[in-house]
């Protein structure tokens, strides 16, 4: 805005017009900023999501490891390697053939008539749904290096 022009007295029609034009100019600036903001976010979104997913996997795996050691290892074996009274979860046969949702349902509700109890708070257990998901993330982290254990249901250990 050129500053040299004489200022019209407040609320006179010349002042009103100038003031209105100044507002309209700002309105345009704000609209451009809003558009730029949305575009900036949209451009960064895939990267942000990737980072967030990675960070989530790391932290969930760490917490899931602890939960597994504290609540599940006594039956499913240290590091899910079996050898106890319950199936060997660290096995390609189990991990490849079971979806996250299946594991979630199994762990949440337990298996009736066996030692496997219901874990989800919703079914009288002690873990929240999110904690169950953290254990699942931990089990999934084993998958790339999971050994082949054909007798996993009988709690066989991997043959080295």
């Amino acid at each position: 805005m050129p500053r040299e022009r004489p200022r019209p007295p407040p609320f006179e029609s010349a002042w009103l017009e100038r003031s209105l034009n100044r507002y309209l100019a700002w309105g345009l600036v704000f609209m451009v900023l809003l558009l730029a903001g949305f575009i900036a976010y949209r451009v960064r979104e895939p990267g942000l999501r990737r980072d967030a997913t990675r960070a989530q996997t790391t932290s969930y795996t760490a917490i899931g490891t602890q939960i597994f050691a504290a609540s599940c290892a006594q039956c499913h074996g240290k590091n899910a390697a079996g050898g106890g009274s319950a199936p060997t979860l660290n096995s390609t046969q189990f991990l490849k053939n079971t979806t996250d949702d299946q594991i979630f349902a199994l762990v949440s509700g337990g298996v009736s008539g066996t030692e496997m109890p219901a874990w989800n708070l919703d079914y009288g257990g002690t873990l929240t749904g999110e904690q169950v998901r953290q254990v699942i993330t931990y089990l999934r982290s084993l998958e790339p290096h999971a050994p082949s254990v054909p007798g996993w249901r009988q709690s066989a250990k991997a043959t080295p």
């Binding site: 309209l24 309105g27 949209r42 967030a52």
Partner: protein, 449 residues
Amino acid sequence: MVEIDPNKLEPGRTSVDHGLTARIKRSDPWRSAFRHAQIDTPRGRALQSFSNVFLHVYPVKIPKRVLNLRYSLRLGFIAAVLFGILLVTGIYLMFVYTPSVGSAYGDMQNLKTGVGFGQLIRNVHRWSAHLMVLVVALHLVRVFYAGAYKKPREFNWVIGVMLLLITLGFSFTGYLLPWDQLAYWAVTVGTNLVHYVPLVGGRLQDLLIGGPQVGQNTLLRFYALHVAVLPMLLALMLTVHIWRVRKDGFAVERTSVGTFSEAATERPAGAAPAAESMALAAPELYGGRVRLLGVVDRESITEAARPVDDTVFTWPHLLVRHVVVALGTAAVVLGLAVLFSAPLRGLANPNLTPEPAKAPWYFAGLQELLSRFDPLVAGILLPGGAVLVLLLLPYIDRNPDTRASHRKVAIALFSLLLAIAVILTVIGTFFRGPGWQFIAPWTHSYIEF
């Protein structure tokens, strides 16, 4: 030649515009929605306002001084805009959030990793919420210093204090919903305070959190308050508030602003409402201003009651300003949201108290007080007393003068209390670390917004 009903022609027009838009605007369906043509005459603008529910929130004409940014700083309006942003983003969040201990936190994670614009919307919602608390508080401060709570606006101030309390309630209930450590412990600290209310404290706390500790019941209760009860309350109160801003004759006249004389705008103290209709009573009470609220085509009748023409048309003068201020508010919020993400700490864990367990920043002053005094005094009596004094302020301070030089005592007292509140909040927010030990904020920051 198409026959055209002369009634559908804009007044003052003799020729018929055959362009497509002109035809659409003359068509019956269009006219059934927008009854009056856009005619750029005083009467035309007035008719448009009267027949449009949105424009009807505004009067047709407003006193010029309302345009002055320096006076209102548009803080009340900005607060309303932020509320609008919160409604829209809040509904988006409702589509992807379940208020259950089992999945709330996972839903928050999902916003980050899977929902389109999810994290952005969450950021916008959170930043608008913080800003709304700040802006509403500043609006209160502005209203105080302007003396705008004095006759005839006493009751609107009371409504305003309730709006502030509702705003705080919104922020506090919303704080719990992500169900992370930050949420869990802030709310645990906050709701433990309720326990100190004399006599009914225990029951009240039980009612609020629905169990021995913050849990599923608390989450569901806070969610219901946050998305249903408080929005309805706020919308209701806001309707009354804005209605009263109009009825009480807009911003207080300041001698430094505009050209209108003070005597003409202030309702004489003690003037009783006349028994006749409002429209007739108004000129004596408000110096003719109530006329602006409706009756424009009676120009000639009330002309005499009006000393100077101090009015301008709402459209475009106020409306353009408001739209631009709203855009500016949105731009600021979006900027913050793109640059700074809302925090999400680990999953809520009742067995692991973070150090320090901090209340949200607007309660940090209260937490600071609590570290110094008995909980009954610091948690209940002092804040309760402050709210009570605020509520009753217009009835305590009965001096009708709005000029700063004539209300030195009120200004000095308010400024002192404000300074104490600000200092306590700053100390509680920035200068406290683990164990509520004094720390220098530049060594380590324990604040998360």
